[in-house]
Structure formats: C-alpha cells, structure tokens
Symmetry: C2
Subunit: 347 residues, 2 copies
DNA sequence: ACAAAATTTGACACCGTTGTCAAAATCGAG
DNA sequence: CTCGATTTTGACAACGGTGTCAAATTTTGT
C-alpha cells in the first residue's frame, strides 16, 4: 500500500551486503560471488526494487533514454518507426522520448543549431534516432557530432560514414516495382517524386530509371513529376500525367499517400483502375489496403526498422569510440494487390 | 567546440552570487533582489546554461517528464493526441515519454498491475496521460491512485471524480450528425458501434438514439452493428446493413476508419455514395479527406486535446492536493463533405 | 604452512541540484 | 540612532546511486 519505494540500501540490508555490491549486481559487473549475486537478485525481486534513474544518470552520466527527433510525428511512416523504437527501448530498460523541431528551411541555420542544442541539453539522451527529413541533414549530423551524442539514422543515403544506419535497399525496391509494371506491358510509366531534401527520393527514382533502361526504354522527363509525399501532391501529379498525349498507362508514386491521391483523381475522372491505369505506391502503409481497389506497393518493415535502429544504437552506447558500422539493410517485399494489371492497349 | 557544459557554479561565479541564489532565480522563487535576478539571468543566457535534469529530479523528486500510456501508438487518434502532448510538454520544458502496455484482457489483472507499476517506477513520470483504452479502466486508475501519480484522461466518460479530464461532448456530436442525416430525409440509419470497453462507444450511440427519438423515430436494433474501430469491421458491418430488406439509406460509423470500410464496400457493391447511401464518420482523421467521395464527419480537436491534457496536468503538479477539477470540454465541429446527400426515395 | 597474487568486498567521496537554517543586510518604529 | 522585525543571501547537508581505492578474503605457488 503506502509503503515507500525501496532503495538500494534496503536491498543491501535484506541481502546482508553493502550498497556497492548491490550496485555491482545490478550492473552485471564482475567480481561478485555467484551465491552473493543470487541472494541480491532475490532481495531485489522480493522488494520490487527499481533503481532511481535520476541518481543513476547523475553519477554515471547516462540517462537511459533515447530521443527520437521528428519534424512531425503525424505520419504513418514516422509513427510506425516510433512504435518499433518504443518496443525496443522498453525491452532494454530504456525510455523513448519524442522531440519535435522545425526543419532548417523554416528558420536560419544558426537558430536551428541553437534550438537543437538546447533541446538536447534538456533531454540529454544517450542517443538519438533520426528519421526523415533529418536523417540526411548535414547540419543536424554536425550538431550531434559536436555534442558527441551517438545517432542512428533510418532510411538514409548509404554513405560510408561510421554511424548506425538502418534502411532498405530503396533503389532495388523501386527497380522491382517498375519491372513489375514493365512486365505487365506498360511502357509509358509516370513517376511521382518525393520531397527533394530526402535521399530516398533520388534513390527510388534511380531504381525506376534503371528498370526502364534495362528494358531498353528511355526515361521520358515528361513522365516525371515532383511531389511532396502527401495526398494532395499525388492528385496534382496525376492531373498532369493523365493529361499527357498520349497519357501514361501506369503511375509509380514514391509513397502510398501520393498513390492514394493518384487513385482518387483517377476515380473522379472515370479512369478505371487497373483496367485503364495501373498504380503502385511505396511503404505499404495502412491506407494501401484501405482503398479501392487495393494498392500494389512495397512493404517497408517500418516497425522493424525502428526496433533495429534502437537496438543497434543502445548496443553502441557501451563502446567508447563507435567503430565504423556497416549499414543494416532489412528486406523489403513487393505486395501485388489490385491496382496493377496488364496494359490494355499496348501502343 | 569541446567546451564542457556549464554548471550552476559557473553561472554563480559569473554573476557573482552563490549557487543557491542561482537556483532561486531559475525556479522563480521569491526573495531575490530584482537587480540580482537580472544579473543571474544574463549569466544564464550568456553561458547557455541548462540545468541538469537528473540532479534536479534526484533532489527535488520531480522528473520533469510526462508519460503517455498507450496500447498501440499506431492510430491516427493516439498519434495526433501524442503530437499535441509533445508540443505542450516541450513548451513547458517537460519531456514526453511513451509507454506501451498490453490491455488487461490480454493477461491476468495482477500481472497487469505489476507490469504497470514496474513501468512507472522505471520512468517515474510526474504525471501520466491516459487515452483509450486505458482512460476508462478502473484497474489502471486504481494503480495510479496507489502510486500517487496524477493522471489526465482524454475522452473519458465524464464521471465526477477529481482528475484532469479533457474531451468533447461525444453525445452531442453524435446527436448532430444523426440529425444532419435525418434532415436530409433519411429514416433508416445504420449505426456501427466501436470497441465495447471504451466509454465513447456508448456515448456516441446514445447521441444517435436521442436524435432518432427526438424526430419521433424508434431506434431499430437491426440497424445497429458492433464494430472494433478498424477498417475491416466497418466492411463487415456494412455487409450486414446493406443486406437488410429494406436496406438502410445512411450509415453512421463511430469513427472514420470504419466509415472508410463502409465506403469501400459500397463502392465494391456498386452502391452509389451519396446517391444511394449516405455515410458519416467520426474524428476527421486524415483519411476522411483522402477518400472518394470525401467523408462527412465530426472534427475532434485531437491535437488540442493532447495539448490541453498535458498543460492541465502540468498545472496541477504544483498543487499538493489536486482539487476536484471540472472536465474541460473542447468544441467539436461537424464537417459536411461529399458523402452525405438527400435521400433519393423517401419510403 | 606461508608469502604473494588474485579475487571479492566495502568505506567514502562525488555527481549537480534543492531544502533547511542561520547569518547578513536592510528596513521601520520609537 | 538603536533595536527588533523583515528581507535577502549563502553554507551545508541531502537526494540515491556509481567510481575509486584500500581492506578483507580466497586462491595459488613453493
């Protein structure tokens, strides 16, 4: 009931050892006799003792918290990754905290750096998980270098630098879905790009181009539209692509939200999907199955991405100087649903 | 570059006062001369000093963190509330942490209580924000009472107890959309309930019933289906409701995801929306605008709900014994889009 | 069986802040 | 101008752990 929380000295008293020995057991340090270790552990569970995070981090200068930095957490992408990260952190006894910060573009770079530094000083995490649009931002990476806070980057360009990186092979995935469309007989395939400040935008585009070239087709600039990863920009891109003469017979949108926009416009204009127009997306977010017809897309293991990023990050916290770590590439998978079909009238 | 983080004594030295005085200034305590206060503040900003959270919370037994407890953060509802909560916390210098925990149903009640207690001991938040399905859970509320951790509940049943509560008037909102359908001439209006362990499910249903009764219509049990707040259960409910003889001419789903399911099924069966069937949802989540036709729904100010909950919670942390607080009711708004229209053939 | 080496254990300082309490400075009244 | 009341200030302990280092204990070698 109203019993006070047990402290280390209570555990020590119950086990008949010194405080320091309890500390050693809790931190899995060597130099404790097996029998003593067991006695202490029994005392811990009996009292339901949980070490005080603040005391621990004050002396040990580790906060046992990981921060996930986002621009906005309101997207399936960020949200699902976050979900995976929370699970991993919880499992390892870490706490996940969320920080929101505006992108560099919305303010001056110095303001941004200052704000970021204050934010980090406040939460003083042991490590930070970066997702788009920060995973590729040189200013952000530099600040964390200066603060000597380890970062894990999700879905970044796979450069050679020595930080924890987790992602999928974006280019290959884009190559696969494009090839899927080509094999269905499509030759005029529209492509909707994502936000230009994100590395994945170019990666996916490269995959698209490579697939066309492999089949001996020349990429046509008219078939490529810019997008912003949101529903609305998908609608706008589709307007242009369907107005072409001759129009495209398939559209590859760089994510599902834009694909949903494409589909909405097709529905509205009476263009039949997939008979007159095949559509593919990217991400396999919830919306992909919740539209009609359901969307062919690429499944990114988002939750797993978050989990692995958090685990790898926590793992590196022990090492004093993190070695150069090869990027972890998780497998993606093309999910063929109803929005793609053989082209009707091959020209 | 590699300068160490400034500590309180550095600030004290620069301002020419004692450490304690700096502490007083930072905590807005009285008994500091105006001039001294300014001098200290100047020193703080000059050094870019940020107090150490761990030291603070160790001595002061406040952690400056708020925990948001969810079952799964992967829904627009939870996600948007979380977004608002992060904003509010950040603004007040608090940190938002996320905890995931399985519902009571998935394990024994004692296990649940133990797990919850350990989770809270680990993160030791100053307060907790509860959302569905925990906001109404008596076991959860009891545990927090025992631990003496203040909670803020979002969207709960509006009982008389003295905790921070934030929500909208669910019943009235449901009353309004139902009335909207009635005024369009609909008389056979289907209703899809939500998860039965959540208070809002009954609240919205009561609003639906009240609207029918007010227009002199008798609620028909055949027109009411259970649901689980997800796309799939919306599809299933619609199958049943559209198979009725005579079929319903409108369906009110208790949330947007289920409404999307209803719409998908209608599209698939060739039932024209809104000509043959009007559909309304609830929440105004992103999906509402990202379907075709766009969805008439009720806008819940989810982000604001999260913000207000966090702010009110932080506010009460000062008071030693939180007084009985009246619930905060935020305004909702019916958003009429394309999915509702006059009934075609009034029977 | 005894000294040296290795292992196990505990006393104590310390991390950076806030609470307590007494000292110092200022103010007001007679 | 002095004395008590009040305001302002600072010295010091304390929060609950971990790091250091020395003491106690056990093991090893001869």
């Amino acid at each position: 009931m109203g019993t006070v929380l047990p402290k280390m000295k209570d555990v020590a008293a119950l086990a008949g050892v010194s405080i320091k020995t309890v500390s050693r057991v809790l931190n899995n340090e060597p130099h404790v006799q097996h029998a003593v270790r067991e006695r202490v552990q029994a005392a811990v569970t009996e009292l339901g003792y949980v070490p005080s995070k603040s005391a621990r981090s004050l002396r040990g200068s580790r906060s046992y918290s990981i921060n996930m930095m986002c621009h906005s957490s309101r997207s399936n992408y960020v949200n699902t990754i976050q979900f995976g990260a929370v699970i991993a952190c919880q499992q390892r006894g870490y706490q996940l905290t969320i920080s929101l910060i505006d992108t560099v573009e919305e303010k001056s770079a110095t303001d941004f750096r200052d704000e970021l530094k204050i934010l980090m000083a406040r939460s003083s995490p042991d490590g930070v998980i970066l997702v788009a649009p920060f995973a590729d931002d040189p200013v952000v990476l530099q600040v964390f270098d200066e603060l000597a806070i380890p970062v894990a980057r999700i879905g970044p360009s796979l450069g050679p630098e020595g930080r924890v990186r987790v992602g999928i092979n974006e280019r290959e995935a884009a190559f696969e879905v494009t090839t899927h469309l080509l094999e269905l007989g499509h030759t005029r395939i529209g492509f909707v790009r994502g936000l230009e400040n994100q590395a994945v935008t170019e990666e996916r585009f490269q995959g698209y181009k490579a697939a066309l070239l492999e089949k001996g087709l020349k990429p046509d600039a008219k078939h490529v539209r810019k997008g912003r990863f949101d529903f609305r920009s998908g609608v706008r891109a589709a307007e242009k692509l369907l107005a072409l003469e001759p129009a495209v017979t398939a559209i590859f949108a760089s994510n599902d939200d834009m694909a949903a926009g494409v589909m909405m416009l097709a529905n509205r204009q009476g263009v039949k999907v997939p008979e007159d127009l095949s559509i593919v997306g990217f991400d396999d977010s919830e919306i992909a199955e919740n539209m009609w017809p359901t969307l062919t897309t690429v499944r990114q293991p988002l939750q797993q991405l978050g989990e692995v990023a958090a685990l790898k990050l926590i793992e590196t916290l022990g090492q004093s100087v993190p070695p150069v770590i090869p990027p972890t590439i998780l497998p993606h998978k093309m999910i063929v649903r109803q929005s793609t079909a053989k082209v009707r009238t091959p020209v």
